[in-house]
């Protein structure tokens, strides 16, 4: 599905990522763990085309090398991201958020508002489970609860035929039942034949839903395991060890 070879990224003096090799297979959910500043976000932003890797790094999608990956390019290749809460434009309506940056428009860029409203309405009832009459396609998203907002972000990712869904700390600031919903969603991804990268601080959230875990530390891959190799307790032990020493036992 996706393969990164020898990818590094520096911001001035700061080496955010160093010689990272990383891959995701079709239908696989990969958990990406690591402390703040470990380079998780940088890695994600390289995959989504937001950052370009330093020269020497290679990116492959479906076995094909991609030179100059841009955000629109990555989305065309089926990469969708569910960011933390900040992914939505608060004051804008639901339909504008669903079609953010990918508005349905005619030849000259004029919007097909009717179609966007109609499709949003359909997604709201079929996918997001909005039943209340108080919420319409024109409701600004800031009036929604945290879980509902995350639902919007996730639905947005799914709606556009994603192949690889990146979840960047999607459970942050969510209540227990809302978190449950998000995790249920993550388990449904491989069932639909799609891949996912799941980033979270909370390994209790990550461990149950992923197939493989990759640990990043200070810009390097400190190690990786399939779930069959480690129990949750072992994993916690090892992560402590990484945090202290920078190496994985």
């Amino acid at each position: 599905m996706l393969r990164l070879v020898n990818v590094s990224k520096s911001f001035g003096e700061v080496k955010s990522l160093q010689n990272v090799n990383f891959e995701v297979w079709p239908g696989e959910v990969v958990g990406l763990l690591g402390d703040n500043g470990a380079g998780k976000s940088t890695l994600v932003k390289i995959i989504t085309g937001y950052h370009q890797p330093d020269p020497g790094g290679e990116i492959y999608f479906h076995g094909r090398r991609v030179e100059q990956l841009s955000v629109p390019e990555a989305r065309k290749l089926g990469v969708e991201t569910v960011y933390q809460e900040k992914a939505l434009a608060d004051k804008q309506s639901l339909w504008r958020n669903i079609f953010m940056g990918r508005e349905l428009a005619g030849k000259f860029g004029f919007l097909d508002v009717k179609r966007m409203r109609r499709e949003t309405e359909e997604l709201m009832t079929s996918k997001m489970g909005f039943t209340s009459k108080a919420v319409t396609t024109d409701t600004p998203v800031r009036t929604l609860s945290g879980g509902e907002r995350q639902g919007v972000a996730i639905t947005r990712a799914l709606y556009f035929q994603a192949q690889l869904i990146i979840l960047d700390e999607p459970t942050m600031a969510l209540s227990l039942s809302e978190t449950r919903k998000v995790l249920d969603f993550v388990t449904s991804i491989p069932k639909a034949g799609k891949s996912a990268i799941f980033i979270d601080h909370n390994i209790f959230h990550v461990y149950p839903v992923v197939d493989r875990i990759v640990v990043l530390d200070r810009g390097r891959i400190a190690g990786e395991f399939t779930k069959a190799e480690v129990t949750l307790d072992e994993l916690i032990d090892r992560l402590y060890h990484v945090a202290k020493t920078g190496v994985l036992r």
């Binding site: 989504t48 937001y50 841009s70 955000v71 629109p72 989305r75 991201t81 960011y83 900040k86 992914a87 939505l88 434009a89 608060d90 004051k91 804008q92 504008r96 079609f99 953010m100 940056g101 990918r102 508005e103 428009a105 860029g109 004029f110 919007l111 508002v113 009459k133 108080a134 319409t136 024109d138 009036t143």
Partner: protein, 334 residues
């Protein structure tokens, strides 16, 4: 049975009404403010406010800043501001006057004027985007720069535009439609409609809202933030040049000081019209109505019989009151 159906229908109607109120709170608010001020003036000076002349005056002078306030709404929606348009107005007309003098071709002169405005606006956008300097600072700088350039080039001398008088060109821009409606009013309406279409029914406007609301996420979702911002500033530049041209043609004279004194009423129109200082929300309709409120205040105060010294006081009062009113209504229906 019947009564049950009845109540349901009623509650449906009520929710439709409240949804309408919620969706258009600011627009309704600004119309309400306009009516309130009109009533005040009409009671204070019925002979003036029940005659057509005062409205012709409004339609003649309000466009001078409304034409800029409309695209300025987009700049403020993106979370930026442009203070340099006052000088771009003058610079644009200087280019117009120069090309007119050398070629005698008014259309070419106008094209040059608009291109000058476009480039000056684009420069603002470029400086803001490329160097990440706040637009407030950049446009204070370019305001002084263009004003200074104009002063150096003209030596402070104006130029007569009398040669344009009674040409088709003149009548098209500032003539009187059927002898009643100033053409600049017609153009203001055309620009308002165009701006509305681009802000609300075009991908460009969708991106403008997204940038102002959450720039980071707009970028992450593939919006070309830099290009969009530059275009928004360029648009204000064109509008400023056009507004300057219209204001100069109206008096058939080019004053190098042109544009001074338009800063406050233009920005007030945008803010009074309900555009958020924080970006992400604002309407073309609101700015349009607010421009005429601002335009009416000056004339209205004198007509009611107060001295011109009252203008600023009432001006401030109306702005503060209407902003408070908008916030209160906004909270009530949000």
């Amino acid at each position: 049975m019947d009564t049950q159906l009845d109540t349901r229908r009623k509650s449906d109607e009520r929710s439709a009404i409240s949804r309408f109120l919620r969706g258009y709170t600011l627009q309704i608010g600004i119309v309400f403010v306009a009516l309130l001020i009109w009533t005040f003036f009409a009671i204070g000076s019925p002979q003036t406010f029940f005659s057509y002349n005062i409205y012709r005056a409004f339609m003649s002078t309000t466009p001078f800043f409304a034409i800029v306030a409309l695209p300025m709404t987009l700049v403020v929606v993106t979370g930026e501001i442009d203070l340099s348009f006052t000088s771009i107005m003058s610079f644009g007309v200087l280019v117009f006057a120069t090309v007119m003098t050398f070629t005698g071709n008014l259309w070419l002169a106008m094209l040059a004027c608009l291109v000058a405005g476009f480039l000056a606006g684009l420069l603002n956008g470029y400086l803001i985007v490329a160097f990440g300097v706040p637009s407030l600072v950049v446009t204070i700088g370019t305001q002084f720069f263009w004003r200074g350039a104009v002063q150096v080039l003209t030596g402070g001398n104006g130029a007569s535009l009398l040669a344009t008088r009674d040409t088709f060109f003149y009548n098209l821009l500032v003539g009187r439609l059927f002898g009643l409606i100033p053409m600049q009013m017609v153009w203001t309406v055309v620009i308002a409609v165009l701006t509305w279409v681009f802000l609300n029914r075009h991908r460009f406007g969708a991106h403008v809202y997204l940038i102002g609301d959450n720039m980071e996420s707009a970028r992450l979702m593939g919006v070309n933030v830099a290009q969009r911002k530059m275009l928004v500033f360029a648009w204000v530049g064109i509008a400023a040049a056009l507004a300057g041209l219209i204001a100069s043609l109206e008096v058939t004279y080019y004053w190098p000081t042109l544009g001074e004194g338009y800063l406050l009423n233009t920005l007030s129109s945008v803010f009074l019209g309900g555009t958020s200082v924080f970006g992400g929300s604002g309407t073309v309709f609101g700015t349009f109505v607010a421009s005429f409120i601002i335009g009416a205040i000056n004339a209205g105060i004198v007509a009611v019989g107060l001295s011109g010294f009252w203008t600023q006081l009432i001006y401030g009062l109306i702005i503060v009151l209407s902003v408070i009113l908008q916030t209160v209504i906004g909270k009530r229906f949000a």
